[in-house]
Point group: C2
Chain length 345, copies 2
């Protein structure tokens, strides 16, 4: 087999505000690879099928000197994210040709890894024969994020009220469905009529478009809220703090309103945590893996396979799209879980 | 006995910023009372000995239409706070002349109450024969605040580091001592050299004056911090968020930096709750009474009596001083637990 193109998406420049396609990241088509002959040195050759693009990636687009829980992308090197690949060749006992793997992969058509465990990759058995991209959304990091934190922090009780921001996204939409299964009243917000419609389909009792409806007014009418699932921070968090009930819980999953705005307004209503005896929990999904991972893998895939838990994807095609998708996710103009489809199985 | 003056401190006007003595509250000396003959209608006549002046009182000085966990003061009526009184006459089985009572009392020389329980008053047995004002500080609401929330939320482990703001106050100083008893490294901040000295005396490993030393620099050097006891909010909270360790706990007891400033800067560093998996707990002491009250009453009074737990008071004399003391406490210019001594026993 002749060499083929090994397209890559490189981190090019630290963005000040929103990441700019072609500037923050660039698509590079100059590299080639011969999948049949490329030396693996005892490793594994993986062909990329799909990538997940998630809000947290903005945090890696920073100066490498700024510490965080996740390392910064390196200028001139490929960006990376959760992805699905298929093993093409293997010189390592941890995987064999044909295995489908899930984990962090460089944004390139091909990845060579020493072995699965050092690369943090796992083989997907896909017992329910679901589309592979399902493992990037409801069965992947976003779904685990919802499930682990809901189990760990919500202390949900039947009859309580929860407010979920970005309720049509991969994280928020599973939170809505978990909350309904626990017997709660669910209020969901999102940024388009299509997303509002999806939130209603998955069971939200109240679903509204925060761009055309005042969050504060909805919460004043439909609250008080016992649980707030925060994906956005900023003014929405301030509105939620005002609408919280005594002994309420706030689960801080993300604060996208501040990711691209260094001059974001601070949170003004934090004093409500005192008067209302609130608890706020922030978390990072991987720290909850050991505690809730097994339950998730047992409970959620069958519900997804049977359709009892619904999910939705917005798929782009080709590595060339990555820069656009990263921006779309930061601006919330993706219609559902953002997936970049790179190659067919 | 001829009628005597029944001085009162009346709430006169809702303050915009800091409360102003003579404007926000006024001292009124026009009322008289004859303790021997005043009709009690089956109730209890109490002579005030001491009042506690605490930061939270600012929250009651608001427009009555603004809801909170504590009711607003009424314009033209006496302000009230925790106090100690002695029963002068009683027509009620719940108390007898000579009993010392603790609870919320109107700021007046004399209070008439229907009975103890409906007034939320309790009789102090004072088994250790401590000065009565002790029951307004380390053995009163401030001490309970420290103890209940430390037990409930700190999850303190030996060898951890805690940062306590307003560490020389009645709440902070007990937190420092509870933390040292639990084997933690303690960093305390306060606003004067005298207070810094007191924090050292009670065991703080690092004590600094936030007016002359940068909180951020101290925490960068002495942190990361596992627990932050927040009495102030604002910039100090932002500095703490930055210095928190992974899985850190923030106990929000008060936010005095915002009480008198409607245009306070918002909290900018809240995103750290995600990356560091932080927990923030706000609370109001009375909601923890049932769970920790009995332990407090068994454990703390003997330690205060033996001197193992230290405390300090700043005593003003006479009801006329109340307005000044309220302001001093909001500005932090009191030197220790603020007490107004009204009458001798």
């Amino acid at each position: 087999m002749a060499p083929v193109k090994n397209g890559r998406v490189l981190f090019n420049e630290v963005p000040q505000g929103y990441p700019e396609p072609g500037k923050t990241t660039v698509y590079d088509a100059t590299q080639t690879i011969d999948p049949e002959t490329v030396p693996l040195d005892g490793g594994i050759l993986i062909k990329t099928l799909d990538f997940s693009i998630d809000p947290y990636l903005r945090g890696r687009m920073r100066d490498a000197s700024a510490k965080s829980y996740a390392p910064a992308f390196e200028i001139g090197k490929p960006v990376y994210s959760f992805g699905i690949g298929v093993v093409i060749r293997s010189e390592n006992a941890s995987a064999k040709a044909g295995d489908h793997v899930y984990g962090i992969l460089d944004h390139a058509n091909y990845n060579i890894k020493k072995d699965l465990s050092s690369a943090g990759l796992e083989i997907l058995d896909n017992a329910h024969n679901l589309p592979w991209s399902t493992y990037l959304g409801v069965l992947g990091m976003p779904g685990k994020t919802s499930y682990y934190a809901w189990k760990e922090y919500s202390k949900a009780k039947k009859g309580e009220t929860v407010f979920v921001s970005t309720g049509a996204g991969p994280v928020g939409s599973l939170v809505i469905q978990l909350a309904k299964r626990d017997g709660l009243k669910v209020i969901g917000s999102a940024g388009s009529e299509e997303k509002v419609q999806f939130m209603k389909e998955i069971g939200a009792d109240v679903a509204f478009n925060y761009k055309t409806t005042s969050t504060k007014e909805v919460l004043a009418r439909e609250g008080p809220i016992d649980i707030y699932w925060d994906n956005v921070g900023g003014e929405t968090l301030d509105a939620a703090l005002e609408a919280m009930a005594v002994n309420g819980r706030i689960i801080v999953c993300g604060m996208i309103s501040g990711y691209n705005n260094q001059h974001a307004t601070g949170i003004k209503n934090l004093f409500h945590v005192i008067a209302k005896s609130l608890t706020i929990n922030g978390f990072v999904v991987f720290r909850l893996e050991d505690k809730h991972g097994a339950d998730f893998r047992r409970e959620i895939p069958p519900l997804v396979a049977s359709g009892e838990i619904k999910h939705k994807e917005h798929v782009w095609n080709g590595l060339e799209a990555v820069g656009d998708v990263i921006l779309a996710v930061q601006k919330g103009i993706n219609k559902a879980k953002a997936v970049v489809h790179v190659a067919d199985d």
